[in-house]
Amino acid sequence: MPEAALLPTNRDEAWRYSDIGALQDTAPDTFEAWEDVRVAEGETWSDLIVLDGGADKDGGLEMRRLRIVLEKNARAELAALVAGGQLGRLEVVVTLAEGAHFELGGITLGGGDTTREIVTRMAHEKPGATSNQTVRSVHWGKGTGNFLGRIDVVRDAQKTDAAQSFKGLLLEKGASVNSVPQLEIYADDVQCAHGASVGQLDESARFYMAARGLPPETIRRLLVQAFIGDATRELADEATREALLEKALTKLDERGA
């Protein structure tokens, strides 16, 4: 079966924490398909991607793969919610020319035994480009959230500023998140700040809010909303910011199962 050899495995770095079992019914050419976006010099592009599983998408793979090329001084802004599929996966590869900027505000949500992941690669190939990625993951049940962010800075790409921030919030015992920052830097005058943390809802905040009369479900909603709000904060477009937050909150409200 030559096709089988084309399916990714956990040995592939970009699929390390993925749910390979969810790929079994997937046609191998799925992994050849990319959506291409080119943003011309000085132009701005923005998009909201929502993977939230229609009724027909329960189980299996729900995936989007984008290749974005930013020309000189171009700006791209991507808001993303990954909350669908047995395996929900967003892959983004961005190539940045001089002075370009890429902004990602990403949220993963999921319970059951789902895996929801965002996998990015920033290719800083020219000097003075910047990228900023903020990903917040909220998981429950036995759900898993992953953020794999690779940053490549070539030798000539001086003055690159590439930042990553990841935080995971586990609502129940049994859920997990993984964050893998992978930095390949060949220039010497660059900034690549990255941070990752995992936690639960703050116990003292919960009691404080309860002592003011808020019932547990309202407390959870307010605290989760505050947590994922981080991912929207740097998005310049207000409509996109609100749409992302609203989609995520709707998804969270449905979380009974």
Partner: protein, 254 residues
């Protein structure tokens, strides 16, 4: 209004088992009264406040608390609030990403719904918040910021009292509301407590370490808490005796 009878409580510890803090505490606070609780460090003052508020990890092993005719200990923390209990924190908690306005409006309306009252509109709520912030001389802009985030110690305590003003409880348990306040702020906070809670229908349990707040909020009764129980109860003069002679001397007379 509040009857605490033979209350025993312990704090759950990491390695299982509990550390006994309250050891047969009995105390009654009537409507219209401000009852001050004083006591040395480690006497159980904050534990009493947390037990009354229902904080997880504080386990009542014996005794009862009746609040306005209801079994307080049977209620969840948010139900206690809706029943009219307010707990003023010694260390108010910071909540990044949640504004004071949103927090308090949700809290007030949750309480009102629980009592079968109608929710307050946004406009009416803002008017109320503005009035109470003014009472505590807290800039309204502070209420638009995230709950207690970036507030100084004194601002946090004033914000606690603004919350109390907005929620308008029947009974307040105030845990060292005076700590971290300078003289001027102490006066503002004390006047605030008087304005909000001095009422024949209301009661206050004022937990404090020092006499100075009691100069502004004059208590009707003063009790000394030591080793988890009330060892002495008296009138306001008890607080001045304590200030003058210290805990050891006053308790030696007990």
């Amino acid at each position: 209004m509040l009857q605490i009878d033979n209350l025993h409580a312990e704090i759950a510890s990491e390695n299982g088992g509990g550390k006994k803090i309250l050891d047969g505490l009995t105390l009654t606070v009537n409507a219209g009264e401000v009852h001050a609780i004083m006591g040395p460090n480690g006497a159980g003052k904050s534990t009493l406040a947390y037990v009354l508020g229902g904080r997880p990890g504080y386990e009542v092993t014996e005794g009862s608390v009746i609040f306005r005719g209801q079994d307080l200990l049977a209620m969840d923390p948010h139900e206690r609030a809706a029943a009219g209990l307010f707990l003023g924190f010694q260390y108010p908690v910071e909540i990044p990403g949640v504004s004071n306005i949103q927090f308090l409006r949700e809290a007030l309306n949750a309480q009102r719904r629980a009592r079968g009252e109608e929710a307050m509109t946004g406009g009416d709520f803002l008017k109320l918040a503005k009035e109470k912030a003014g009472l505590l001389k807290l800039d309204m802009e502070m209420l638009k910021r995230n709950v207690n985030v970036g507030f100084s110690g004194g601002e946090k305590k004033r914000a606690e009292m603004v919350q109390m003003g907005i929620l308008d409880p029947a009974f307040a348990v105030l845990d060292e509301t005076d700590s971290g306040l300078d003289i001027d702020a102490l006066r503002v906070v004390g006047d605030g407590i008087n304005a909000i809670m001095r009422n024949p229908e209301k009661g206050v349990l004022l937990i404090t370490h020092y006499q100075r707040l009691l100069d502004v909020v004059q208590p009707d009764r003063v009790s000394i808490l030591s080793k988890g129980r009330i060892v002495k109860t008296g009138g306001p003069e008890l607080a001045t005796d304590l200030e003058r002679e210290g805990y050891d001397a006053v308790m030696a007379d007990a």
